[in-house]
Subunit: 438 residues, 2 copies
């Protein structure tokens, strides 16, 4: 049986998961693939720690470059993360003609264009299924299963930390801070949770998906990003009353000559299958002209689910090596010559439905003033809800709108904020309700 | 740009959808694949009907054999269905060295072993993603994404007709017959609905999935099959009261030296994401040692969603042709030498939880007699519910059990049936409640 040698860079949580699968399910994988996958070299700064995996002598090294330079290694799996040494190592592996696998969304979102072009030029593959949605086969779906479809939109819950925190606020009424602490104590959030809770990790993933779905290069910095740290139990309570759940969504829409690409908390209807995705689970809905709506659901992170996707990618590359078909599928889903520069719409140009919550003094005529400003800015009101109870002399006034333009909304809220009857900054949460677009 | 010639056999609903995608999205597909896919020949017994697709002169023929014998055709797509001429045409196409695509689950479930071995022997591919779950990439997930996983179980809602009927009974309280009539009038059920409502179509799909997941040949007739025609609103009402929804499930479990493969209506908890899959939608949960639980959700049938999967398969084969990698992935997920004969467990050997509904005369001591028989047969009662209202002098007694063996259950129900206080045949519905397995 033919042998394929694999080098693993980074043996942290997911890297260890990959090693476990390659070692413990070796026979199973061979019986499917028809080749023996050997984990020949593993590089990590800490080669002493007990990882619960038994490596042969000489497998572990602290020198990652010795792995990418090893002429016997066929496939390099980069599990270091971040956009520092990882980029250099992948480029070196590509230069050395090796197939590469990575789950590094931060790197791909920002430096993907450089890496993919280097791989294509060298005629090697760079696989990255695990960079988005953990175990869910979203990259494979976009590049392979849905190849006959014009993709019209994607909506995803792509960060388990945020989804866990929002679920805690929703079901236990926790405040954001205590939900975050609990996520940290359970290992679902980092000590510095910024990348996750501020929506940056989700936006990294959205950049990758948007690029693949529509055949475009994307500038990560064009994505509008808003995190979940301002979500409060009172807004979740109102949302539930209207039949909505608040989720941190990654939204991408194909508008022909422009695309929408935005990450922010949003209200979605209980009818929307994404509303039932709770805890650390991830899911994504993809809409295409033939497929209609399709959803993938699964563990978006974690040692073994992510490792499962990395091994799936590795076997794809093994099969390309065995059948002599490197470069069989274009890395970015489209042939490089057909990748376009499509501008991302400024968020001010999007149309969606809105939820506003104003803290207003309980005076007669307040609503008339607010409604007047909204009307003057072409924002049509769907419903108004005033909650009886006073908080520090002010009452919450909640307004749901019909479709409105974000620029108009920003202008109206700025005018309303400056009214002396308004005591706090208005709260704005977008309502992504396909059925309610009227 | 290289050209790949495609021959389509059968231009009914899905066949027409395939033609539409290949013609209308031709440019899009080329920009992804880097080759031009030409729909060169289309065979159908009716070449006159307006299908809303414009074929060039000479493309349509009534002679399907002229398509599979055409030396210029690279890929044959079989959309005729059934296990008659379709089998012969696919075998002829394989013999002629053509790559083939089919969505024909009835054929694959019964004659798959013959067809796959013929294709493997000839070194051509036979793709069949659309045979299970319409647009959902379930075959691709099993053969590619999850290749590093020992699959432990799969649970699916794989028939849109049954799911529509059960949803109607659940949400509108319709009787089975009227829900079926409505499904027929909306085009969701055939004039002869037997294949769907009796669970046979679901079992065809389960046979294919079971074979791929565990690397085994399966005898379709070993699958236990029970349809939905006996499901009544009263059982659905009880189920909802206990927090369960009734779905027609395809269940497959890897028990090492044996597998479970069964199709029957079952109660599942509202927490189970499958419980929210309503109307004609399909979904499947796959559990693996690395991936944990993953779910795919989408349109399981219909013109365009199914055609989307067929085109995805076709492009896979185009890519194999272009890169010279025919046979890149073993057809049945495992290398042929590693495909085992694993017996399917007789249904009498399975353990699950049960819901029983007895119609009993309203006499003292009834429950004691029923409970005694259950106890004597090693069936442990979880809860008992007696509904006050009498129907023709009898009252419904509902019992939920802990895990019990099907053979014991059958024996107990037979004994209970023969009691003179029991007025109707007992109703048995399995409760597939992972959390409740105690």
């Amino acid at each position: 049986m033919k042998t394929i040698n694999i080098g693993l860079l980074g043996c942290g949580t997911v890297g260890t998961g990959v090693a476990k699968i390659l070692i413990e399910n070796k026979g199973l994988i061979s019986s499917r693939v028809g080749a023996s996958l050997i984990l020949k070299r593993v590089a990590d700064i800490d080669i002493k720690r007990d990882r619960g995996v038994c490596f042969d002598n000489g497998v572990m090294t602290t020198d990652a470059y010795s792995v990418v330079d090893d002429p016997e290694i066929d496939i390099v799996i980069e599990m270091i993360g971040g956009d520092g040494i990882a980029k250099d190592l992948i480029l070196k592996a590509i230069k050395n003609g090796k197939q590469a696998v990575t789950a590094n969304k931060a790197l791909l979102a920002v430096h993907g264009n450089t890496l993919f072009r280097a791989a294509a030029k060298k005629g090697v593959d760079l696989a990255f299924e695990a960079s988005v949605g953990g175990c869910m086969p979203i990259i494979k779906s976009l590049r392979e299963s849905l190849v006959g479809n014009t993709i019209s939109s994607m909506t995803g819950i792509l960060n388990g930390t945020c989804n866990y925190i929002l679920s805690k606020i929703t079901f236990d009424g926790s405040a954001f801070e205590s939900a975050l602490s609990e996520a940290q104590s359970k290992g679902f959030a980092e000590a510095d949770p910024t990348l996750d809770v501020e929506g940056i990790d989700t936006a990294h993933k959205l950049a990758i998906l948007t690029s693949l779905a529509y055949g475009m290069e994307i500038n990560f910095h064009d994505i509008y990003i808003e995190g979940i740290s301002n979500i409060t139990p009172i807004d979740i309570e109102f949302a539930e009353r209207f039949g909505y759940r608040i989720k941190l969504l990654a939204i991408s829409k194909n508008k022909g000559d422009r695309v929408e690409a935005r990450v922010h908390p949003a209200m979605i209807s209980f009818d929307n299958p994404l509303s039932n995705v709770s805890g650390t689970m991830n899911a994504i809905t993809i809409s295409g002209d033939a497929v209609g709506d399709m959803m993938l659901y699964g563990h978006g992170a974690g040692m073994m689910p992510t490792a499962s996707a990395v091994v799936g990618d590795t076997v794809d590359l093994v099969r390309n090596i065995l059948s002599g078909s490197k470069g069989r599928i274009p890395l970015l889903s489209y042939q490089f010559d057909n990748i376009k520069k499509i501008p991302v719409m400024p968020v001010e140009d999007i149309f969606t439905n809105y939820y506003f919550r104003f803290s207003a003094l309980d005076h007669p005529g307040v609503l008339s003033k607010i409604a007047g400003i909204l009307g003057n800015n072409s924002i049509s009101i769907k419903s108004v809800h005033q909650k009886g109870r006073k908080t520090k002399g002010s009452v919450p006034i909640v307004i749901l709108t019909h479709l409105a333009r974000e620029a108009d909304v920003k202008k109206a809220l700025s005018e309303i904020s400056s009214l002396d009857i308004i005591s706090d900054s208005p709260v704005l949460i977008r309502v992504e309700d396909e059925n309610g677009e009227d």
